[in-house]
C-alpha cells in the first residue's frame, strides 16, 4: 500500500517536474531576449536586459519619460519616436497616436517591449530629468488653504532647471489613501537655490496628495520626486510680459521673479494675481519689494469679491477685462499664465482677442 502511494506521488511529481522544466526552458529560450542595445538620438547608447517596456528600461537607466499613469497605457504622455526595432504597432497604442504621428514612427514607450536592438529619438530636455530623494524641511502657511512646502534634496543634492518648470511629487500611503499617487507641482524656487525644491500647494477637498501634504506630512519625512519637466519658462526676448496667476499659480512666478531680479531684467512686466478676497492674497510684500528693485515691474492683485474686504483699495473684478487697459503693444507681448483652468481659459481667450498670440502655460493643469 505504502509502495503504491509512493509510486503515485513520484510519478505525479515527475510529470509535474518535467512540465515545469519544459516551461522554464521555453521561458529561457523564447521569453528571454538577451541584452539589447538602445541607441538614443544617434549618440547615447544603453545596454539593457530585453523583455521590459521601453519606458521602464529607460527609467532604470535614469532617463525619465513623462508619464502620468505609471506606464499603464492610459495617459498617452510617453510618446517618442522609434526609428528601428520597435516591432509592429500594438492595438493598445493606436488610440493615442494621430495618423501623422504614426507615419513619423511615434510609439507609446510604455507599450513597446524591448526585444531587439532599438533606436529612438527623444527631446534633449528629457536627459536632464532625474529621480530625487529628499526630506520635508519646512512648511509655511501662506493662507488658510495654501501652504509653501520646502523639500531639501538628499540624493542627488541639486537640481538643474529653468525657473517655472515643474516636478512630479509622490505621495505616501496614509489611513485613507491605500495607493500612492504622483502629482505635478511647479517649482517656486529660483535655479540659484538648487539644493532644495519649493512648492506651493493648495488644499483640494478630495485631493489625495493635498490631504497628504496638509494633514499627514511632517518635518523630516522622506519624499521622492522626479523632474524638471515642462515648457513653462521665460523666453529670451525683449518683448513685454504679462503674468496672470491665481491661487497656487503663484508658485512658478515666485521662482521666475527671483531669477529675473537677480539678472536685473529690464523688460516691462505686468503681474496680475487674481483672488476672491484679501484672505487669499500672499507674498504681496515680496512682490512689492520687486517693484522697488525693478523699475519696469508692477504687481497688480485683483479681488473679485470686494464686498468681503471693505478696506481694499486695489483693483477689483476679474483679470481678463483689465488686460486691454494695461497692455502696451499686443504684438510685442508674451503672456505667461498659471492658475485655475477657468482663469486660464478666460484669460487666453481675451489675450488672443486683443492680439497677444505668444501665450505660455503648463498643460498639467
Amino acid at each position: 500500500m505504502l509502495g503504491l502511494i509512493i509510486v503515485n506521488v513520484l510519478v505525479f511529481a515527475g510529470i509535474g517536474g518535467l512540465l515545469a522544466l519544459l516551461l522554464v526552458l521555453a521561458d529561457f529560450f523564447l521569453a528571454n531576449y538577451g541584452d539589447c542595445l538602445i541607441e538614443i538620438n544617434n549618440k547615447k547608447k544603453l545596454t539593457v536586459k530585453g523583455g521590459n517596456s521601453l519606458l521602464n528600461s529607460l527609467s532604470e537607466n535614469d532617463i525619465f519619460i513623462p508619464s502620468a499613469c505609471g506606464g499603464r497605457g492610459t495617459c498617452g504622455l510617453c510618446k517618442l519616436q522609434v526609428s528601428e526595432g520597435g516591432g509592429p504597432l500594438l492595438p493598445t497604442e493606436k488610440p493615442y497616436l494621430t495618423a501623422e504621428e504614426i507615419s513619423q514612427n511615434y510609439r507609446l514607450s510604455c507599450q513597446v517591449k524591448v526585444k531587439t536592438d532599438i533606436s529612438i529619438s527623444i527631446p534633449e530636455e528629457l536627459f536632464s530629468i532625474r529621480k530625487f530623494k529628499g526630506v520635508m524641511e519646512k512648511m509655511i502657511d501662506y493662507t488658510y488653504d495654501t501652504k509653501g512646502v520646502i523639500i531639501k534634496l538628499i540624493e542627488p543634492k541639486s537640481i538643474d532647471f529653468k525657473a517655472g518648470q515643474y516636478i512630479q511629487l509622490q505621495s505616501k500611503k496614509y489611513p485613507k489613501a491605500k495607493q500612492v499617487v504622483s502629482r505635478a507641482y511647479s517649482m517656486a524656487n529660483s535655479p540659484e537655490n538648487n539644493d532644495h525644491v519649493e512648492l506651493i500647494i493648495r488644499r483640494v477637498p478630495e485631493g489625495i496628495m493635498t490631504t497628504f501634504i496638509h494633514d499627514y506630512c511632517r518635518k523630516d519625512d522622506q519624499l521622492t520626486l522626479t523632474g524638471p519637466y515642462g515648457d513653462f519658462y521665460i523666453r529670451d526676448s525683449d518683448a513685454d510680459m504679462i503674468f496672470v496667476a491665481g491661487g497656487s499659480g503663484m508658485a512658478p512666478f515666485k521662482g521666475i521673479m527671483e531669477e529675473l531680479c537677480r539678472k536685473e531684467c529690464q523688460r516691462h512686466i505686468l503681474f496680475f494675481f487674481g483672488a476672491r478676497t484679501t484672505k487669499d492674497l500672499f507674498l504681496t510684500a515680496e512682490m512689492k519689494e520687486y517693484e522697488k528693485k525693478m523699475a519696469a515691474f508692477s504687481y497688480h492683485p485683483v479681488i473679485s469679491q470686494p464686498e468681503a474686504s471693505p478696506d481694499w483699495k486695489g483693483l477689483t473684478g476679474y483679470i481678463p477685462p483689465l488686460l486691454e487697459k494695461y497692455v502696451r503693444d499686443p504684438a510685442k507681448t508674451e503672456g505667461y499664465l498659471c492658475g485655475s483652468p477657468a482663469l486660464l481659459a478666460a484669460t487666453e481667450k481675451k489675450m488672443r482677442e486683443i492680439g497677444i498670440d505668444k501665450i505660455f502655460y503648463d498643460s498639467f493643469g
Partner: protein
C-alpha cells in the same frame, strides 16, 4: 460572476484613496457592474440615453467654464457654477485621456432641483453609464439628473 483581472483592478480604483480620497462607491456594497445595470435600466425608463445626459452635462460645463469660478445663469433658468481645480486625473476605468478636476453645481430655478458633478462623472457616464454608488459624494441619481437637466 467571473471577473477579468482588469475588472478587479477597476473595482479597486473605485474605492476611496485610489483615484480620489472619497472614492466613487459611497456605502454601496454592490459590484460596479450591478450599479451600472440598475442605473441604465432607470434611465431607459426615463426615456433618455447616457450619451444625451453626458452631452447635456458637457454643454453646461463648457458654458460655465468661462465664468472665472463664479456663478452664471444659462438659458435663463439654470444657475451654474464651475469651481475649477488645477491638475488632471485618469479615469478609474482607465479610459483614454487626462480629465480636468473641479466641481460644477447646477440649480434648475424652475423646479428647484440641484445637482453637482465633476468632469470625471461626465466621462464615466458617457463611456460606461457609471453614475457612482449610492452614498458617494458625487452620486448622480438618474431621476434627479432628468429633473434638473431636461425639464
Amino acid at each position: 460572476m467571473k471577473q477579468t483581472p482588469e475588472e478587479v483592478l477597476i473595482q479597486e480604483r473605485l474605492k476611496p484613496g485610489a483615484v480620489t480620497l472619497d472614492g466613487f462607491l459611497g456605502n454601496d456594497n454592490r459590484h460596479y457592474h450591478d450599479i451600472i445595470a440598475e442605473d441604465l435600466d432607470k434611465i431607459k425608463e426615463l426615456g433618455i440615453t447616457k450619451e444625451e445626459i453626458a452631452n447635456r452635462l458637457d454643454y453646461f460645463t463648457d458654458k460655465a467654464l468661462m465664468n472665472y469660478d463664479e456663478e452664471a445663469t444659462i438659458d435663463g433658468k439654470y444657475r451654474v457654477r464651475y469651481q475649477t481645480e488645477r491638475g488632471k486625473l485618469i479615469s478609474p476605468f482607465k479610459d483614454k485621456g487626462l480629465i480636468p478636476k473641479g466641481v460644477i453645481t447646477l440649480l434648475n430655478t424652475e423646479n428647484s432641483q440641484q445637482i453637482c458633478w465633476t468632469p470625471l462623472n461626465i466621462s464615466m457616464i458617457r463611456n460606461h453609464g457609471f453614475f457612482e454608488g449610492k452614498g458617494a459624494k458625487h452620486r448622480l441619481e438618474p431621476e434627479m439628473l432628468f429633473k434638473a437637466l431636461f425639464e
